[in-house]
């Protein structure tokens, strides 16, 4: 089956720093794929390239097998790829419904909308309510200002926006990093529900227990490239940590070996 989103040999250099060094990526339909890596491993750059925020110097991105070129976040959006940024990209002084539709507001039909550009505020509130209800997000009113929400609720609104408009992929950058235990749990449930709706999710996270709780596969990123893809069912948390720190290595046959041992025997 063709992957929903894939990338081959992505390279991105910032001056003398190489943030991506031939990175590969593959997301299958209906899965939650966690992307893990140490600080500075280049996972942010990879994610930005996939969401259109960064244009790679070399390599190829494919959506359902077809090569694409993203010059900005709007390009990726046009392909149904939505991103929940770590700082959420919400306008705190505006209400939930307005934030959900920010940048893609809907106008009323008829002359009121065409001529006077009147927004369909009621319709947008209704749809916002429907999306949030579907995802089981509990907020009182769609006209509540985002700044009056808790951190977890804000996260939920940002996730709901991505889920509402993402038709192919939802990318989430550290969605639980700023949240407490209970709120993190809710966000993980939310990711689960998005997967249930058939939408694949790319989850960037530092939190191994969260990754192992929710992910179907784990993409391990190290020194600007993918070093392994493992399943949480067959591999332990320790193995993943070993891979991302470079203590372990995945061989071509998929077996994991200790780097120290092999180098010690003079292979390098």
């Amino acid at each position: 089956m063709t992957p929903v989103l894939e990338a081959h040999g992505l390279v991105k250099r910032y001056g003398r720093v190489t943030a991506m060094d031939g990175a590969d990526f593959e997301l299958s339909a209906g899965e939650v794929l966690a992307v893990v890596g140490d600080n500075g491993a280049g996972k942010s750059t990879l994610i930005k390239a996939l969401s259109g925020a960064v244009v790679p110097d070399a390599g190829q991105i494919l959506v359902e097998g077809k090569p694409v070129r993203f010059h900005g976040p709007l390009d990726a959006r046009r392909y149904g790829i939505e991103t929940v940024y770590q700082d959420l990209a919400l306008a705190p002084a505006l209400d939930i419904a307005t934030n959900l539709f920010l940048g893609r507001e809907r106008r009323r039909s008829g002359p009121l909308g065409a001529l006077f550009r009147r927004l369909d505020a009621k319709g947008m509130r209704r749809d916002a309510r429907r999306v949030l209800d579907e995802l089981g997000i509990d907020v009182k009113s769609m006209t509540q200002l985002v700044e009056t929400l808790s951190g977890g609720q804000r996260q939920a609104v940002a996730v709901a926006r991505a889920a509402a408009f993402g038709s192919r992929v939802v990318i989430m950058d550290e969605p639980t990093a700023a949240l407490g235990v209970q709120e993190s749990g809710r966000v993980l449930e939310l990711i689960d529900r998005i997967r249930d709706r058939g939408l694949p999710v790319v989850l960037i996270s530092h939190n191994m227990p969260h990754v192992f709780e929710i992910a179907d596969r784990v993409h391990v990123h190290r020194l600007g490239k993918r070093v392994a893809v493992v399943s949480p069912k067959t591999h332990s948390m320790n193995a993943v940590v070993g891979l991302l720190t470079g203590a372990l290595r995945m061989g071509d046959d998929g077996t994991i070996e200790e780097v120290g041992l092999t180098t010690g025997l003079g292979r390098s």
Partner: protein
């Protein structure tokens, strides 16, 4: 769909409520403490006195909502009055001269917006520079003269009518009201308005949400420029004389009206309703204190204190969010 909101949230989303209460209190206090304040003619005069600054302040509100500031607005309006007056005196049809003056103000607004968005310069610096340049341009253009206008088109906004035979109203009031309604609609009922708030609130979030940030900011300066052009027309309606030395503190007075009206200098919060109320508060304060026999300079002190108080209230009411 009506939904109940808590009192604190109501205040948060209706920043004009505090200023509106202050306005009512000021009117009542002056009405009770002086014999002349509640006079219908006086109240009408108060509104007329707020028209030019109020119109400038409507444009200023848009700029401040994007977390900018416009120090050149009154200077632009003055240049516009000179342009209109001199063209008319030199034989151009008054309506054409008027349109030229208003379009010129919008063009200067476009230049401001272009510098702010194109070169990413801080609005404070851009408009400070333009304040100096436009003021100098006005003086060069006027060559030490002022220009009285007699054409009825140019003075039309000062034309008075009597409602119910006693309340003196001017067309200028109607124009200001129409502008207010238009801007209120644009800011609250259209996508453009939501984008203006979002850009002022958090430009990066706005960009990531797919809003064309620079285009939005540029459009704000153009619309603000239009407001300043109309303020020029209002000024000619009040005093039919284009004077290069008029409204030297108009920029600060307009910022005062905006800030007293509850619009946040940090951007993204506020309303044109607040600005309207703010402009009225300043006019009421001036009129009331004059009638109470208080010196002009003390009126300045009172206005200044009010500005600081308004910003302090804004700062502390959002203390938790910022």
């Amino acid at each position: 769909m009506t939904t109940r909101v808590s009192p604190s949230e109501f205040i948060l989303r209706t920043p004009a409520i505090g200023p509106a209460i202050a306005l009512v209190v000021a009117v009542v206090v002056f009405g009770l403490t002086t014999d002349t304040f509640f006079n219908v003619d006086n109240l009408s005069l108060v509104v007329q006195q707020s028209l030019v600054i109020g119109t400038l302040a409507l444009g200023q509100t848009l700029v401040i909502l994007t977390a900018g500031i416009d120090l050149a607005n009154a200077a632009i309006a003055v240049l516009s009055t000179l342009l209109i007056a001199k063209l008319t005196i030199n034989g151009t049809d008054a309506p054409i001269a008027l349109v030229v003056g208003i379009v010129a103000a919008a063009l200067i607004g476009a230049v401001t917006g272009g510098l702010v968005t194109g070169l990413r310069l801080p609005p404070f610096i851009v408009t400070l520079g333009l304040l100096t340049i436009v003021t100098a341009a006005s003086r060069l253009y006027a060559q030490g003269q002022s220009f009285p206008v007699t054409d009825p088109t140019l003075g039309w906004l000062g034309t008075t009518q009597y409602l119910f035979g006693q309340i003196e109203v001017t067309y200028g009031m109607a124009v200001m009201l129409a502008m207010f309604v238009g801007l209120w609609y644009a800011l609250t009922k259209t996508a453009w308005g939501k984008h203006v708030y979002a850009v002022g609130n958090d430009p990066e979030a706005a960009r990531l949400s797919g809003i064309h940030v620079r285009r939005t900011v540029l459009s704000v300066y153009v619309v603000a420029g239009l407001c300043y052009g109309i303020a020029a027309w209002q000024a000619l309606g009040r005093v039919p004389n284009a004077d290069p030395n008029a409204f030297q503190l108009g920029n600060l007075d307009s910022i005062t009206a905006v800030v007293i009206g509850g619009t946040s200098l940090f951007g993204g919060r506020g309303s044109v309703l607040g600005t309207l109320v703010g402009a009225l508060i300043v006019a009421v304060l001036r009129s009331g204190l004059t009638q109470a026999g208080i010196d002009n300079l003390y009126q300045d002190v009172a206005t200044g204190a009010l500005v600081i108080a308004a910003v302090a209230v804004d700062r502390f009411s959002r203390g938790r969010q910022r």
